[in-house]
Protein backbone atom coordinates (compact mmCIF):
# COMPACT_ATOMS: atom_id res chain seq x y z
CA UNK A 1 0.00 0.00 0.00
CA UNK A 2 2.77 2.38 0.98
CA UNK A 3 4.53 1.43 -2.24
CA UNK A 4 1.44 2.32 -4.23
CA UNK A 5 1.22 5.68 -2.49
CA UNK A 6 4.85 6.42 -3.33
CA UNK A 7 4.23 5.49 -6.97
CA UNK A 8 1.13 7.69 -6.99
CA UNK A 9 3.06 10.59 -5.45
CA UNK A 10 5.81 10.24 -8.07
CA UNK A 11 3.27 10.13 -10.88
CA UNK A 12 1.44 13.16 -9.53
CA UNK A 13 4.63 15.17 -9.16
CA UNK A 14 5.56 14.18 -12.71
CA UNK A 15 2.22 15.56 -13.83
CA UNK A 16 2.74 18.74 -11.85
CA UNK A 17 6.09 19.22 -13.54
CA UNK A 18 4.48 19.28 -16.96
CA UNK A 19 4.47 22.87 -18.12
CA UNK A 20 1.05 24.33 -17.30
CA UNK A 21 -0.93 25.38 -20.34
CA UNK A 22 -0.55 29.13 -20.93
CA UNK A 23 -4.14 30.35 -20.81
CA UNK A 24 -3.33 34.05 -20.40
CA UNK A 25 -4.66 34.91 -23.88
CA UNK A 26 -7.86 33.00 -23.11
CA UNK A 27 -8.30 34.97 -19.89
CA UNK A 28 -7.39 38.30 -21.56
CA UNK A 29 -10.12 37.69 -24.13
CA UNK A 30 -12.63 37.36 -21.30
CA UNK A 31 -12.71 33.55 -21.07
CA UNK A 32 -15.81 31.79 -22.48
CA UNK A 33 -18.21 34.74 -22.13
CA UNK A 34 -15.72 37.11 -23.81
CA UNK A 35 -14.86 34.70 -26.64
CA UNK A 36 -18.56 34.03 -27.19
CA UNK A 37 -19.27 37.74 -27.58
CA UNK A 38 -16.27 38.18 -29.92
CA UNK A 39 -17.37 35.31 -32.17
CA UNK A 40 -21.01 36.44 -32.21
CA UNK A 41 -19.95 40.03 -32.96
CA UNK A 42 -17.71 38.82 -35.78
CA UNK A 43 -20.54 36.75 -37.29
CA UNK A 44 -22.90 39.72 -37.08
CA UNK A 45 -20.28 41.80 -38.91
CA UNK A 46 -19.95 39.05 -41.53
CA UNK A 47 -23.73 39.05 -42.02
CA UNK A 48 -23.47 42.75 -42.92
CA UNK A 49 -20.32 42.33 -45.01
CA UNK A 50 -21.12 42.20 -48.74
CA UNK A 51 -17.55 41.08 -49.48
CA UNK A 52 -17.85 37.66 -47.91
CA UNK A 53 -21.44 37.09 -46.72
CA UNK A 54 -22.07 34.91 -49.79
CA UNK A 55 -19.63 32.29 -48.45
CA UNK A 56 -21.87 31.85 -45.40
CA UNK A 57 -25.18 31.67 -47.27
CA UNK A 58 -25.65 27.93 -46.90
CA UNK A 59 -23.91 27.48 -43.59
CA UNK A 60 -25.57 26.35 -40.34
CA UNK A 61 -24.71 29.53 -38.45
CA UNK A 62 -25.58 28.11 -35.01
CA UNK A 63 -23.16 25.23 -35.52
CA UNK A 64 -20.52 27.53 -37.02
CA UNK A 65 -20.84 29.80 -33.99
CA UNK A 66 -20.31 26.89 -31.59
CA UNK A 67 -17.33 25.47 -33.48
CA UNK A 68 -15.71 28.90 -33.85
CA UNK A 69 -16.01 29.50 -30.12
CA UNK A 70 -14.31 26.15 -29.52
CA UNK A 71 -11.62 26.94 -32.09
CA UNK A 72 -10.90 30.39 -30.69
CA UNK A 73 -10.87 28.95 -27.14
CA UNK A 74 -8.35 26.26 -28.11
CA UNK A 75 -6.17 28.71 -30.06
CA UNK A 76 -6.19 31.05 -27.05
CA UNK A 77 -5.01 28.25 -24.76
CA UNK A 78 -8.38 27.79 -23.06
CA UNK A 79 -9.79 24.55 -21.56
CA UNK A 80 -11.76 23.48 -24.62
CA UNK A 81 -11.71 20.74 -27.20
CA UNK A 82 -12.32 21.52 -30.85
CA UNK A 83 -14.94 19.06 -32.09
CA UNK A 84 -15.34 20.43 -35.60
CA UNK A 85 -13.82 19.25 -38.85
CA UNK A 86 -10.31 20.33 -39.81
CA UNK A 87 -9.84 23.80 -41.25
CA UNK A 88 -8.71 22.33 -44.56
CA UNK A 89 -11.79 20.07 -44.65
CA UNK A 90 -14.33 22.80 -43.88
CA UNK A 91 -12.93 25.21 -46.46
CA UNK A 92 -12.58 22.70 -49.29
CA UNK A 93 -14.27 23.93 -52.46
CA UNK A 94 -15.05 27.31 -50.90
CA UNK A 95 -12.37 29.09 -52.93
CA UNK A 96 -11.72 31.52 -50.11
CA UNK A 97 -9.46 34.20 -51.55
CA UNK A 98 -6.69 36.08 -49.77
CA UNK A 99 -8.97 39.13 -49.79
CA UNK A 100 -11.82 37.12 -48.23
CA UNK A 101 -9.51 36.02 -45.45
CA UNK A 102 -8.48 39.63 -44.80
CA UNK A 103 -12.13 40.71 -44.80
CA UNK A 104 -12.86 38.17 -42.06
CA UNK A 105 -9.84 39.43 -40.10
CA UNK A 106 -11.25 42.96 -40.37
CA UNK A 107 -14.66 41.78 -39.16
CA UNK A 108 -12.95 40.05 -36.23
CA UNK A 109 -10.92 43.17 -35.36
CA UNK A 110 -14.08 45.30 -35.46
CA UNK A 111 -15.76 42.86 -33.07
CA UNK A 112 -12.78 42.87 -30.68
CA UNK A 113 -12.64 46.69 -30.84
CA UNK A 114 -16.31 46.75 -29.85
CA UNK A 115 -15.59 44.44 -26.92
CA UNK A 116 -12.78 46.75 -25.80
CA UNK A 117 -10.06 44.12 -26.24
CA UNK A 118 -6.63 45.78 -25.97
CA UNK A 119 -4.59 45.87 -29.21
CA UNK A 120 -1.73 43.67 -27.87
CA UNK A 121 -4.30 41.01 -26.93
CA UNK A 122 -5.94 41.31 -30.35
CA UNK A 123 -2.54 40.90 -31.98
CA UNK A 124 -1.90 37.66 -30.09
CA UNK A 125 -5.18 36.11 -31.22
CA UNK A 126 -4.72 37.31 -34.81
CA UNK A 127 -1.20 35.89 -34.88
CA UNK A 128 -2.58 32.48 -33.81
CA UNK A 129 -5.37 32.59 -36.40
CA UNK A 130 -3.07 33.96 -39.13
CA UNK A 131 -1.07 30.74 -38.81
CA UNK A 132 -4.19 28.86 -40.01
CA UNK A 133 -4.45 30.94 -43.19
CA UNK A 134 -2.74 28.34 -45.35
CA UNK A 135 -5.44 25.76 -44.45
CA UNK A 136 -8.24 28.23 -45.25
CA UNK A 137 -7.46 30.09 -48.46
CA UNK A 138 -7.50 28.83 -52.05
CA UNK A 139 -8.92 25.41 -51.19
Amino acid sequence: MRFLLVVLAVLLSACAQQPPRDDSLYRDLGAMPGITRIVEGMLLNVARDPRIVEHFRHVDIQRLRNKLIEKFCVEAGGPCTYTGDSMAETHKGQNVTRSDFNALVEDLIASMDKEGIAVPVQNRLIARLAALRGEVIER
Binding site: P50, R98, S99, N102, E106, N123, R124, A127, A130
Partner: protein, 284 residues
Amino acid sequence: MRFFLIGCLAALTVQTALADNGRLIATGGASSLEGAAGGGITPWAVLAGYGEQHEWGATAFATTVNLPDYRLDVAGLALAYDNRVELSFARQRFDLGTLVHRLNLPDDHLGQDVLGMKVRLFGDVIYDRLPQVSLGLEYKHQSNFDIPRLVGARRDSDVEGYLAASRLFMGAAFGYNVLVNGNLRYSRANETGLLGFGGDRRDRRSLLKEGSVAVLFNPRWAVGVEYREKPDNLSFAGESDWADVFVGYFPNKHVSVVLAYARLGEIATLADQNGTYLSVQGSF
Protein backbone atom coordinates in the same frame (compact mmCIF):
# COMPACT_ATOMS: atom_id res chain seq x y z
CA MET B 1 -2.15 69.94 -56.98
CA ARG B 2 -5.71 71.21 -57.27
CA PHE B 3 -6.62 68.18 -59.39
CA PHE B 4 -5.15 65.97 -56.75
CA LEU B 5 -7.28 67.55 -54.04
CA ILE B 6 -10.40 67.25 -56.18
CA GLY B 7 -9.50 63.61 -56.78
CA CYS B 8 -9.12 63.05 -53.07
CA LEU B 9 -12.47 64.63 -52.35
CA ALA B 10 -14.08 62.57 -55.07
CA ALA B 11 -12.54 59.46 -53.58
CA LEU B 12 -13.86 60.38 -50.15
CA THR B 13 -17.35 60.91 -51.44
CA VAL B 14 -17.49 57.64 -53.35
CA GLN B 15 -15.73 55.61 -50.73
CA THR B 16 -18.97 54.29 -49.30
CA ALA B 17 -19.73 52.84 -52.69
CA LEU B 18 -16.38 51.13 -53.00
CA ALA B 19 -15.78 47.74 -51.43
CA ASP B 20 -12.82 47.73 -49.07
CA ASN B 21 -11.51 44.59 -50.64
CA GLY B 22 -7.97 43.35 -50.65
CA ARG B 23 -5.21 43.67 -48.13
CA LEU B 24 -5.35 44.88 -44.56
CA ILE B 25 -5.28 48.58 -43.74
CA ALA B 26 -1.90 50.35 -43.78
CA THR B 27 -0.26 47.44 -45.68
CA GLY B 28 -0.19 49.64 -48.79
CA GLY B 29 2.03 52.06 -46.94
CA ALA B 30 2.25 55.75 -47.67
CA SER B 31 3.87 57.25 -50.78
CA SER B 32 7.59 57.85 -50.67
CA LEU B 33 9.23 60.93 -52.20
CA GLU B 34 10.04 59.01 -55.38
CA GLY B 35 6.47 57.73 -55.79
CA ALA B 36 6.89 54.11 -54.74
CA ALA B 37 4.76 52.76 -51.90
CA GLY B 38 6.60 52.89 -48.63
CA GLY B 39 7.53 55.29 -45.96
CA GLY B 40 8.55 58.87 -46.64
CA ILE B 41 12.21 58.94 -47.67
CA THR B 42 12.49 55.20 -48.39
CA PRO B 43 10.28 52.70 -50.21
CA TRP B 44 8.96 49.49 -48.64
CA ALA B 45 8.58 46.10 -50.30
CA VAL B 46 4.78 46.49 -50.22
CA LEU B 47 2.85 47.56 -53.30
CA ALA B 48 0.69 50.68 -53.60
CA GLY B 49 -2.96 50.48 -52.65
CA TYR B 50 -4.78 47.49 -51.26
CA GLY B 51 -5.12 45.12 -54.22
CA GLU B 52 -4.62 41.42 -53.55
CA GLN B 53 -4.41 38.69 -56.19
CA HIS B 54 -6.24 39.65 -59.40
CA GLU B 55 -7.07 43.07 -57.95
CA TRP B 56 -5.96 46.59 -58.78
CA GLY B 57 -4.74 49.21 -56.40
CA ALA B 58 -3.97 52.85 -57.07
CA THR B 59 -2.76 55.83 -55.10
CA ALA B 60 -2.23 59.54 -55.64
CA PHE B 61 -0.26 61.68 -53.29
CA ALA B 62 1.12 65.12 -52.52
CA THR B 63 4.05 65.78 -50.22
CA THR B 64 5.69 68.94 -49.01
CA VAL B 65 8.96 69.20 -47.08
CA ASN B 66 9.66 72.58 -45.50
CA LEU B 67 13.32 73.19 -44.72
CA PRO B 68 15.03 76.30 -43.32
CA ASP B 69 16.38 77.37 -46.73
CA TYR B 70 14.55 75.15 -49.20
CA ARG B 71 11.21 73.60 -49.94
CA LEU B 72 10.48 70.30 -51.70
CA ASP B 73 7.06 69.64 -53.26
CA VAL B 74 6.19 66.28 -54.75
CA ALA B 75 3.05 64.94 -56.41
CA GLY B 76 2.56 61.57 -58.01
CA LEU B 77 0.60 58.41 -58.65
CA ALA B 78 1.06 54.70 -58.39
CA LEU B 79 -0.80 51.77 -59.87
CA ALA B 80 -0.46 48.18 -58.73
CA TYR B 81 -1.91 44.89 -59.98
CA ASP B 82 -2.18 41.43 -58.48
CA ASN B 83 -0.13 42.44 -55.41
CA ARG B 84 2.73 41.72 -57.79
CA VAL B 85 3.74 44.75 -59.85
CA GLU B 86 3.62 48.47 -59.20
CA LEU B 87 4.17 51.38 -61.59
CA SER B 88 4.67 54.84 -60.17
CA PHE B 89 5.33 58.38 -61.26
CA ALA B 90 6.47 61.32 -59.16
CA ARG B 91 7.27 64.92 -60.04
CA GLN B 92 9.54 66.76 -57.63
CA ARG B 93 10.09 70.50 -57.39
CA PHE B 94 12.82 71.76 -55.11
CA ASP B 95 12.66 75.50 -54.44
CA LEU B 96 16.09 76.99 -53.88
CA GLY B 97 14.88 79.92 -51.77
CA THR B 98 17.44 82.54 -50.85
CA LEU B 99 20.29 80.65 -52.53
CA VAL B 100 19.05 81.94 -55.92
CA HIS B 101 19.92 85.58 -55.16
CA ARG B 102 22.97 84.89 -53.08
CA LEU B 103 24.66 82.87 -55.83
CA ASN B 104 22.91 84.52 -58.78
CA LEU B 105 21.66 81.15 -60.00
CA PRO B 106 20.09 80.67 -63.45
CA ASP B 107 17.02 78.86 -62.01
CA ASP B 108 15.00 79.35 -58.84
CA HIS B 109 14.27 75.64 -58.43
CA LEU B 110 15.44 72.16 -59.31
CA GLY B 111 13.09 69.57 -60.73
CA GLN B 112 12.97 65.86 -61.29
CA ASP B 113 10.58 63.23 -62.66
CA VAL B 114 10.77 59.66 -61.42
CA LEU B 115 9.24 56.70 -63.23
CA GLY B 116 9.29 53.65 -61.02
CA MET B 117 8.54 49.96 -61.29
CA LYS B 118 8.46 47.56 -58.36
CA VAL B 119 7.94 43.81 -58.53
CA ARG B 120 7.20 41.63 -55.54
CA LEU B 121 9.57 38.70 -55.85
CA PHE B 122 8.28 36.55 -53.00
CA GLY B 123 6.90 36.56 -49.49
CA ASP B 124 4.12 38.40 -47.73
CA VAL B 125 4.59 41.26 -45.31
CA ILE B 126 2.23 39.66 -42.77
CA TYR B 127 1.41 36.04 -43.46
CA ASP B 128 4.28 34.28 -45.14
CA ARG B 129 7.20 32.66 -43.40
CA LEU B 130 9.52 34.74 -45.57
CA PRO B 131 9.58 38.53 -45.50
CA GLN B 132 8.11 40.30 -48.49
CA VAL B 133 10.93 41.04 -50.91
CA SER B 134 10.56 43.33 -53.91
CA LEU B 135 12.86 44.58 -56.63
CA GLY B 136 12.51 48.17 -57.77
CA LEU B 137 13.80 50.10 -60.77
CA GLU B 138 13.60 53.86 -61.11
CA TYR B 139 14.21 55.98 -64.17
CA LYS B 140 14.94 59.52 -63.05
CA HIS B 141 15.14 62.60 -65.21
CA GLN B 142 16.46 65.89 -63.87
CA SER B 143 14.41 68.53 -65.69
CA ASN B 144 16.59 71.66 -65.49
CA PHE B 145 20.21 70.65 -65.64
CA ASP B 146 22.00 74.07 -65.71
CA ILE B 147 22.69 74.22 -61.98
CA PRO B 148 23.63 70.54 -61.58
CA ARG B 149 26.03 70.82 -64.54
CA LEU B 150 27.54 73.95 -62.97
CA VAL B 151 28.33 72.10 -59.75
CA GLY B 152 29.84 69.08 -61.46
CA ALA B 153 27.02 66.58 -62.09
CA ARG B 154 27.72 64.29 -65.03
CA ARG B 155 24.26 63.45 -66.47
CA ASP B 156 20.67 64.59 -66.26
CA SER B 157 19.03 61.16 -66.23
CA ASP B 158 19.82 57.73 -64.89
CA VAL B 159 18.39 54.37 -63.88
CA GLU B 160 18.82 52.99 -60.40
CA GLY B 161 17.65 49.85 -58.66
CA TYR B 162 16.77 48.77 -55.17
CA LEU B 163 15.98 45.58 -53.34
CA ALA B 164 13.48 45.99 -50.51
CA ALA B 165 12.47 43.59 -47.73
CA SER B 166 9.53 44.22 -45.39
CA ARG B 167 8.22 42.18 -42.49
CA LEU B 168 5.54 42.71 -39.88
CA PHE B 169 6.51 41.22 -36.52
CA MET B 170 3.27 40.61 -34.68
CA GLY B 171 3.25 41.76 -31.09
CA ALA B 172 7.00 42.35 -31.12
CA ALA B 173 7.01 45.62 -29.13
CA PHE B 174 5.14 45.12 -25.85
CA GLY B 175 2.40 43.36 -27.77
CA TYR B 176 2.24 45.93 -30.58
CA ASN B 177 3.04 45.05 -34.17
CA VAL B 178 6.35 46.24 -35.60
CA LEU B 179 7.06 46.75 -39.28
CA VAL B 180 10.72 46.48 -40.28
CA ASN B 181 12.02 47.45 -43.72
CA GLY B 182 15.48 47.20 -45.17
CA ASN B 183 16.60 48.27 -48.63
CA LEU B 184 19.74 48.13 -50.68
CA ARG B 185 19.90 50.78 -53.39
CA TYR B 186 22.38 50.96 -56.26
CA SER B 187 22.51 54.59 -57.33
CA ARG B 188 24.63 57.58 -58.22
CA ALA B 189 21.87 60.16 -57.79
CA ASN B 190 22.91 63.43 -56.16
CA GLU B 191 20.30 64.49 -53.59
CA THR B 192 18.07 61.67 -54.96
CA GLY B 193 18.61 63.08 -58.47
CA LEU B 194 17.59 66.71 -57.95
CA LEU B 195 21.27 67.59 -58.54
CA GLY B 196 21.70 65.14 -61.39
CA PHE B 197 23.60 61.87 -61.46
CA GLY B 198 27.26 61.11 -60.93
CA GLY B 199 29.79 63.84 -60.25
CA ASP B 200 33.32 65.15 -60.40
CA ARG B 201 34.28 63.26 -57.25
CA ARG B 202 32.66 59.95 -58.13
CA ASP B 203 30.75 58.87 -61.21
CA ARG B 204 30.04 55.24 -60.38
CA ARG B 205 26.96 53.94 -58.59
CA SER B 206 27.20 53.18 -54.88
CA LEU B 207 25.49 50.48 -52.83
CA LEU B 208 23.40 52.40 -50.32
CA LYS B 209 21.58 51.15 -47.23
CA GLU B 210 18.11 52.30 -46.28
CA GLY B 211 15.79 51.19 -43.54
CA SER B 212 12.84 51.98 -41.36
CA VAL B 213 11.10 50.66 -38.28
CA ALA B 214 7.49 51.47 -37.40
CA VAL B 215 5.39 50.50 -34.40
CA LEU B 216 1.66 50.14 -35.05
CA PHE B 217 -0.25 51.22 -31.98
CA ASN B 218 -3.34 49.95 -33.73
CA PRO B 219 -4.07 49.21 -37.40
CA ARG B 220 -4.56 52.94 -38.08
CA TRP B 221 -1.65 54.63 -36.29
CA ALA B 222 2.05 54.08 -36.90
CA VAL B 223 5.05 55.79 -35.36
CA GLY B 224 8.55 55.17 -36.64
CA VAL B 225 11.97 56.19 -37.84
CA GLU B 226 13.62 56.06 -41.25
CA TYR B 227 17.17 56.25 -42.49
CA ARG B 228 18.60 56.64 -45.99
CA GLU B 229 22.26 56.53 -46.87
CA LYS B 230 23.27 58.86 -49.70
CA PRO B 231 26.33 59.03 -51.93
CA ASP B 232 28.77 61.96 -51.99
CA ASN B 233 29.60 62.44 -55.65
CA LEU B 234 29.99 66.21 -55.90
CA SER B 235 32.96 68.10 -54.50
CA PHE B 236 31.24 71.52 -54.27
CA ALA B 237 29.21 70.46 -51.23
CA GLY B 238 28.74 67.57 -48.87
CA GLU B 239 25.69 65.34 -49.12
CA SER B 240 24.22 64.09 -45.86
CA ASP B 241 22.46 60.82 -45.13
CA TRP B 242 18.78 61.42 -44.44
CA ALA B 243 16.70 60.42 -41.44
CA ASP B 244 13.27 61.19 -40.04
CA VAL B 245 10.81 60.34 -37.31
CA PHE B 246 7.20 60.04 -38.46
CA VAL B 247 3.61 59.53 -37.44
CA GLY B 248 1.32 57.87 -39.96
CA TYR B 249 -2.46 57.92 -39.75
CA PHE B 250 -4.61 55.58 -41.83
CA PRO B 251 -8.24 56.42 -40.88
CA ASN B 252 -9.55 54.15 -43.65
CA LYS B 253 -8.34 52.46 -46.83
CA HIS B 254 -8.81 55.61 -48.90
CA VAL B 255 -6.83 58.29 -47.10
CA SER B 256 -3.59 58.43 -45.19
CA VAL B 257 -1.55 61.24 -43.73
CA VAL B 258 2.11 61.17 -42.71
CA LEU B 259 3.72 63.89 -40.62
CA ALA B 260 7.44 63.73 -39.99
CA TYR B 261 10.42 65.64 -38.73
CA ALA B 262 13.14 65.15 -41.32
CA ARG B 263 16.87 65.63 -40.78
CA LEU B 264 18.23 66.19 -44.28
CA GLY B 265 21.49 67.78 -43.12
CA GLU B 266 23.65 69.58 -45.67
CA ILE B 267 22.09 70.22 -49.08
CA ALA B 268 23.98 72.18 -51.76
CA THR B 269 26.32 73.93 -49.30
CA LEU B 270 23.63 74.88 -46.77
CA ALA B 271 23.82 72.89 -43.54
CA ASP B 272 21.16 71.87 -41.01
CA GLN B 273 18.30 71.46 -43.47
CA ASN B 274 15.97 69.86 -40.95
CA GLY B 275 12.25 70.46 -41.11
CA THR B 276 8.73 69.16 -41.40
CA TYR B 277 7.49 66.58 -43.87
CA LEU B 278 3.78 66.33 -44.62
CA SER B 279 2.28 63.85 -47.04
CA VAL B 280 -1.33 63.11 -47.96
CA GLN B 281 -2.31 60.04 -49.95
CA GLY B 282 -5.55 59.00 -51.56
CA SER B 283 -6.02 55.30 -52.30
CA PHE B 284 -8.55 53.91 -54.75
